[in-house]
């Protein structure tokens, strides 16, 4: 049974950050038209929810794919510390050149977590608000 079944462990994390959707590739008028309110030059913020899915064999002794404290420590170091209460545009290197949309944020976070050594990263889901969700699975 176990071999035919895939077990995934999921964990949700939160951070709050500001961003501004703006690109040097477009004129001021185009930025304003494309990004609307999100182009406000002073930025704005969200309470982001990041859901991480990992898979792997369930350890027969512990009953776990991965110990939660190990996953928490890794995500805390790779994502929460660098992003929480930060300006994504100013404080995260990747977004100096890329627009910090939640699509790009999903890919950035996936890239930071994909080498987690204790389980396979399956998917990153980000809820920018309770009404907008984005997923990236590599």
């Amino acid at each position: 049974m176990s071999d035919a079944l895939k077990v995934v462990f999921g964990r949700r994390y939160r951070f709050a950050a500001s961003h501004r959707l703006h690109t040097e590739e477009l004129s001021e008028a185009e930025n304003s038209r494309v990004f609307g309110k999100c182009n406000n030059r002073f930025g704005h913020g969200h309470n982001y929810v990041v859901e991480i899915h990992v898979s792997g064999p369930v350890d027969p002794v512990t009953g776990m794919i991965v110990n939660l404290t190990e996953l928490d420590r890794f995500v805390e170091r790779e994502v929460i510390e660098p992003f929480d209460h930060k300006s994504l545009n100013e404080d995260v290197e990747a977004f100096r050149t890329k627009v910090p949309t939640t699509e790009n944020l999903c890919k950035e976070i996936y890239g930071r977590l994909k080498d987690f050594p204790l389980a396979k990263l399956e998917l990153v889901r980000i809820e920018e608000t309770s009404n907008n969700a984005f997923e990236y699975a590599g």
Partner: protein, 140 residues
């Protein structure tokens, strides 16, 4: 293919302790979950069934039927129980979210005969869950 999901909730207690590990290892690996008196959660279970809608009824399966299966197989077995001691299918296993989700899959899979069980997702809290599906299945 259409996927339908029904959600139920149940409350249960459990503790994490492995006889294969020393007292110190149990404490180190399982932390607070190793409290010998146990602790509890409000679990939320989402069960997803896949199939094509019946051309006459328009249903993959009758939700009343699914509700009855979940009541009989899961709620009666696990709700307001101590999972380590009162759920035979979990005997000898640590009742982690992963293991409970696997047991739930095993219980439900043969009972769902209209459509096919696609996925079970078990939340231990709003921020922690485990999910079971067939290897290679769609992530829907």
């Amino acid at each position: 293919m259409v996927y339908l999901t029904r959600k139920i909730e149940f409350s249960a207690s459990h503790l994490y302790h492995s006889p294969a590990l020393s007292v110190e290892e149990n404490r180190r690996i399982f932390g607070k979950c190793n409290n010998p008196h146990g602790h509890g959660h409000n679990y939320t279970l989402e069960v997803t069934v896949e199939g094509e809608p019946d051309p006459v009824t328009g249903m993959v399966l009758d939700l009343k039927e699914l509700k009855a299966i979940l009541e009989r197989e899961i709620t009666e077995r696990m709700d307001h129980r101590f999972l380590n001691y009162e759920v035979a299918e979990l005997k000898g296993q640590i009742p982690t979210c992963e293991n409970i989700a696997r047991v739930i899959w095993k219980l439900l899979e043969p009972k769902i005969t209209q459509g096919r069980l696609h996925k079970v997702r078990l939340y231990e809290s709003a921020d922690i869950f485990a999910e079971c599906c067939r290897n290679g299945a769609s992530r829907a």
